[in-house]
C-alpha cells in the first residue's frame, strides 16, 4: 500500500483549526527587512506615544539568584509609579519574578492593577521532569500569580521530539487554569529562524496565550529578526484560524530606541490591534529608566541627569 510521506517524527499537529503550513524563513531576507524597519524615524508625538506605550506594555523583571523580598518590593513600587515626579506616567503591565518571590510581589501590588508574572517549569533550562514542572506551575498559580512564563524543553525540540514539547505546553496550560500562559522559546538556543518559526507555531497550537523570545539568560535574545519571524507566525495563525496570540520580546532590550524599534515591528507586522498590554509585552530589567528619561526629554526638550531617576 502506498504511504503518504511522513511528517517529522512526532510532529503531529491538530488538523482543525488548520494551522498555516509550517513554511520556512529566509535568513538574509528576514534580517534585511528587520534592519529596514529598525530605520523608521519616530519623532515628537509619535515618539511620546511609543514611549508611554512601552511603559504600559512592560514586564518589569528581576530574575537573579540574589533576589530578595526587599529587592522585589522596591521593584514593585517602581512598577506602579515609575516616575514619582510625573503623575501622567502610567504603571507598567506586570512584574516578573521567580516563584519564591511571587507572594511578596502580590502583596505589594494588590489593588494597583499591575499584574504578577512568575517564571516556572524549571526556568531557565527547562531540564526537569514534567511532574516537577507542573507542580511548580500549580504552586505559583495557587499563590495567585496572574501570569506564568514557562520555558519549552529545548533539549526535546532540538532532538526532534516535537510531540514532547507540544504535550508539555498543553499540560502546563491546563495547570495554569485562569492564569495567562507565556511560552518562552529561548530562540538563542534554537539555532535557525526556521526553528524559531516551528517552535512558535507549535507553542501556539498547544495553547500559548503569548509567545516569548527568551529567558534573558543568553546574550543572543530578543533580536529584531527573531521578533519579526515570531510576529509573522502570529499573523499567519491569526489569518488562518482567527486565533489571537500575544507577543513578548525579552532580553537585550536595554534602551528606549530598541524598545521603539520593537513596537514598530509589531505595528507594521500585526497592526495597531496588537499595541496593547493584553497582546504585547516587553520584558526588561534595565529599560525603564531610559524610557523615563526620553519621555522627560520629549516633554521638556532637555536631557536630565540619570540621578533624577530612581534606581530600584
Amino acid at each position: 500500500m502506498a504511504q503518504a510521506p511522513a511528517l517529522p517524527r512526532g510532529f503531529e499537529l491538530p488538523l482543525e483549526p488548520r494551522l498555516p503550513r509550517i513554511g520556512s524563513v529566509d535568513q538574509v531576507a528576514v534580517e534585511a527587512r528587520a534592519g529596514e524597519l529598525a530605520k523608521r524615524s519616530i519623532k515628537r508625538d509619535a515618539k511620546l506615544f511609543a514611549l508611554e506605550l512601552a511603559i504600559r506594555c512592560m514586564d518589569l523583571t528581576t530574575l537573579e539568584g540574589a533576589d530578595t523580598p526587599g529587592k522585589v518590593a522596591a521593584l514593585c513600587s517602581k512598577a506602579v509609579r515609575p516616575d514619582p515626579t510625573d503623575r501622567h506616567t502610567p504603571s507598567v503591565a506586570a512584574v516578573c519574578v521567580y516563584p519564591n518571590l511571587v507572594p511578596t510581589a502580590l502583596e505589594r501590588l494588590r489593588g494597583t492593577g499591575v499584574k504578577v508574572a512568575s517564571v516556572a517549569t524549571a526556568f531557565p533550562s527547562g531540564q526537569s521532569p514534567l511532574e516537577a514542572k507542573l507542580d511548580e506551575v500549580r504552586w505559583v498559580v495557587g499563590q495567585g500569580a496572574d501570569e506564568v512564563d514557562m520555558v519549552i524543553d529545548r533539549g526535546a525540540f532540538l532532538s526532534g521530539r516535537y510531540a514532547k514539547v507540544y504535550d508539555e505546553i498543553v499540560r502546563v496550560k491546563e495547570a495554569c487554569g485562569e492564569a495567562h500562559l507565556k511560552v518562552i522559546l529561548e530562540t538563542g538556543e534554537l539555532g535557525t529562524y526556521d526553528n524559531v518559526r516551528r517552535a512558535s507555531l507549535l507553542a501556539m497550537a498547544a495553547g500559548a496565550d503569548f509567545i516569548k523570545t527568551s529567558t534573558g539568560k543568553l546574550s543572543s535574545a530578543a533580536t529584531l529578526p527573531v521578533a519579526l519571524v515570531m510576529l509573522e507566525a502570529i499573523r499567519d495563525v491569526h489569518e488562518e484560524t482567527g486565533r489571537i496570540v500575544g507577543f513578548k520580546p525579552a532580553g537585550g532590550i536595554r534602551n528606549a530606541k530598541q524598545s521603539i524599534q520593537h513596537l514598530v515591528l509589531v505595528h507594521e507586522t500585526l497592526g495597531t490591534d496588537w499595541l496593547t498590554p493584553d497582546l504585547y509585552r516587553q520584558g526588561a530589567s534595565s529599560l525603564l529608566n531610559d524610557v523615563l528619561m526620553q519621555i522627560r526629554k520629549e516633554r521638556t526638550g532637555v536631557y536630565r541627569s540619570p540621578d533624577e531617576f530612581t534606581i530600584d
Binding site: V28, V30, R40, S41, I42, V80, T112, T276
Partner: protein, 491 residues
C-alpha cells in the same frame, strides 16, 4: 502604600499610531538659480535654458542649460584635448588616484547628494541615502582598483583606451548611472561627455563640483544638459568614439540605427519586463518583501523591476493575500521624509504613461487592487498597484510600465514558469524564489535574462556585471566585463 494610585483600566488599543513627519533637512543643499554646462573644467554660460523642478511639489529648483550642437561640439573638443594631452597616457595608478579621490568625496558629501537626488528625482530619501549614494561611491572605488590592472584583466590583448565616450543616462538613478558610466570610462583612460536626463540634471551638475574638488584635469569629464536634441547631437558627433546609452528601448533602437556603419562602439542598456517567479516552497513572507522591493522600489522606475509576478497556483491565494496586506503598510509621500517607502513619479510625462497603461489593464479585464492611500495634492503621484487575473496577452503583461504597477500571472510547473518568463521581447533580469538550491540553478540556466536573482531582488554590486538580452540591450556594466566596452585591443 496609601499614596499609590491604581493604574487606570487597561487602555484600549489605539486606533492608529501615526508617525510624525521626519523630513531630512534641505539645508545641506545649496541650489543655484542658473546652471551652465561643464566643459573643459569650467562652467560655460548656456545659450538656451529650461527649468528643472521637484516632481513631488512641482516647485522650480533652477534653470539649466539646453545644450545646442555648438555646445556639444565644444564639450567633445574639450574631451578630445584632454584625451590627447595627457589623460590617456597617464599611468593607470595615477588615474586610480583621481577615482579614489572622487569616491571619497562622494562619501563625504553623500548626505548632500542624497537630498538633492530625492529633491530633483522624487525618490525616497531612504533609497537615495542607503542605495544610490553608497553604490555610486562603491563603483568609483571598484573601478579605481582596476585602473592599473587592465593588462591582468585582459592578458595578452594589450588593452588601450577608446577615446572620447559620449554617455547618455536616464532619470531613474541619476547619480548612480553617472557612476556606472564615468568610473569604468576613466579607469580605462578615456575622457567623457555625459548628458544627464532632461528631468534630473542636478546631481550630475553637483558632481562637477566633485570633479573640481578632486582636481581632475580639465576636460576629462564634461557635462552638458538638455533633452533628446542634445543627446542626438552627442550621438551623431563625429569626434565621439563610443556611445553608452541607458534608457528606453525606442531611443536605443534609434541610436543603433544612427550609428550603423560609423565604427563607433556602442552599448545599450534598455527596458525590461522581468519575471519574478515564486515557487510554492519559497519562504513566503520574505518573498513578499522581495516582490515589494522588486516593483515598488524607486516607484517602479527601475529597468530591471520585477514587474511580472509569476506565482505557483498552489500558493496563489495565500501569497496575494499577504501581498495586499503588505501594500497597506507602504508609506507613500514626501520623498524627503525618512519614513517614506514610495516617493513621487518622476515627471508628468511618465505619470501619463503609467495612467494610460493602467487604464488599458482595466479595459482588458485585469482585476486592480490599490491600497487605501492619501496622496499629496501637488506633484506627480501614483498609488502602488497590483493587477491580478492578468493574461500573458494583455499590454500590462507585455509592455514596460516603468511605474509602481505589478501584473500577476500564475503557473503550475517549473517548465511553464520558464516558458512564461521567457515569453517577452526583453531579457534584462529575473527573480526566482524557492528553498531548493538545485531548482535555483536549473532556473537560472533556463531563464533568458542578464541577471537572475535568487531569493532576493534588485541587489547590485559593482563587481557584478549587469546588462540585457534582446530588446533589453547589449554590453555589460559592472565587474571586469564592464571594462571591455571602454577598451580596444591591439591583438
Amino acid at each position: 502604600m496609601t499614596e499609590i494610585e491604581p493604574r487606570k483600566s487597561a487602555a484600549p488599543a489605539p486606533t492608529s499610531w501615526d508617525y510624525a513627519p521626519a523630513p531630512e533637512s534641505r539645508d545641506v543643499v545649496t541650489l543655484r538659480e542658473r546652471y551652465g554646462h561643464f566643459i573643459g573644467g569650467r562652467w560655460v554660460e548656456p545659450q538656451e535654458t529650461y527649468t528643472t523642478i521637484s516632481p513631488a511639489t512641482e516647485e522650480t529648483l533652477g534653470e539649466v542649460g539646453q545644450a545646442t550642437p555648438d555646445e556639444v561640439n565644444a564639450a567633445v573638443g574639450a574631451a578630445r584635448d584632454a584625451f590627447s594631452n595627457g589623460w590617456s597616457a597617464l599611468p593607470g595608478s595615477e588615474r586610480a588616484k583621481y577615482l579614489f579621490r572622487i569616491a571619497r568625496i562622494l562619501q563625504e558629501r553623500s548626505r548632500e547628494f542624497a537630498v538633492l537626488e530625492s529633491l530633483n528625482g522624487g525618490k525616497p530619501i531612504k533609497e537615495s541615502r542607503d542605495v544610490d549614494l553608497p553604490l555610486a561611491a562603491a563603483h568609483f572605488f571598484y573601478y579605481a582598483g582596476w585602473a592599473d590592472k587592465l593588462e591582468y584583466a585582459f592578458p595578452n590583448r594589450r588593452p588601450q583606451p577608446v577615446g572620447v565616450a559620449g554617455q547618455i543616462i536616464p532619470w531613474n538613478f541619476p547619480l548612480l548611472m553617472l557612476a556606472w558610466k564615468i568610473a569604468p570610462a576613466l579607469a580605462c583612460g578615456n575622457t567623457v561627455v555625459l548628458k544627464p536626463a532632461e528631468t534630473t540634471p542636478l546631481s550630475a551638475l553637483l558632481f562637477c563640483d566633485v570633479v573640481q574638488q578632486a582636481e581632475l584635469p580639465p576636460g576629462v569629464v564634461n557635462i552638458v544638459t538638455g533633452d533628446g536634441r542634445t543627446g542626438g547631437a552627442l550621438v551623431t558627433h563625429e569626434g565621439v568614439d563610443k556611445i553608452a546609452f541607458t534608457g528606453s528601448t525606442e531611443v536605443g533602437k534609434a541610436i543603433q540605427r544612427e550609428l550603423a556603419g560609423t565604427g563607433k562602439k556602442l552599448t545599450l542598456e534598455l527596458g525590461g519586463k522581468a519575471a519574478n517567479v515564486i515557487f510554492d516552497d519559497a519562504a513566503l513572507d520574505q518573498a513578499v518583501e522581495g516582490i515589494v522591493n522588486g516593483i515598488y522600489f524607486n516607484q517602479g522606475h527601475v529597468c530591471c523591476a520585477g514587474s511580472r509576478l509569476l506565482v505557483q497556483e498552489s500558493i496563489y491565494e495565500q501569497l496575494i493575500g499577504k501581498l495586499k496586506r503588505r501594500l497597506t503598510t507602504l508609506r507613500v509621500g514626501d520623498p524627503l521624509d525618512k519614513n517614506t517607502d514610495v516617493g513621487a513619479i518622476n515627471s508628468r510625462m511618465q505619470l501619463d504613461k503609467i495612467e494610460e497603461l493602467v487604464a488599458a489593464g482595466k479595459d482588458e479585464g485585469a482585476e486592480i487592487y490599490q491600497p487605501p492611500c492619501t496622496l499629496p495634492e501637488k506633484g506627480y503621484w501614483f498609488v502602488p498597484t497590483v493587477f491580478t487575473n492578468v493574461a500573458q496577452s494583455y499590454r500590462i503583461a507585455q509592455e514596460e510600465i516603468f511605474g509602481p504597477v505589478l501584473s500577476v500571472l500564475t503557473f503550475r510547473t517549473p517548465d511553464e514558469a520558464v516558458e512564461k518568463a521567457n515569453n517577452t521581447m526583453y531579457g534584462l533580469s529575473a527573480g526566482v524564489w524557492t528553498e531548493k538550491g538545485s531548482r535555483i540553478l536549473a532556473m537560472a540556466q533556463r531563464l533568458r535574462a542578464g541577471v537572475v536573482w535568487a531569493n532576493t531582488y534588485n541587489r547590485f554590486d559593482p563587481a557584478s556585471p549587469f546588462g540585457g538580452y534582446r530588446e533589453s540591450g547589449f554590453g555589460r556594466e559592472g565587474g571586469r566585463h564592464g571594462l571591455e566596452p571602454y577598451l580596444r585591443f591591439d591583438e
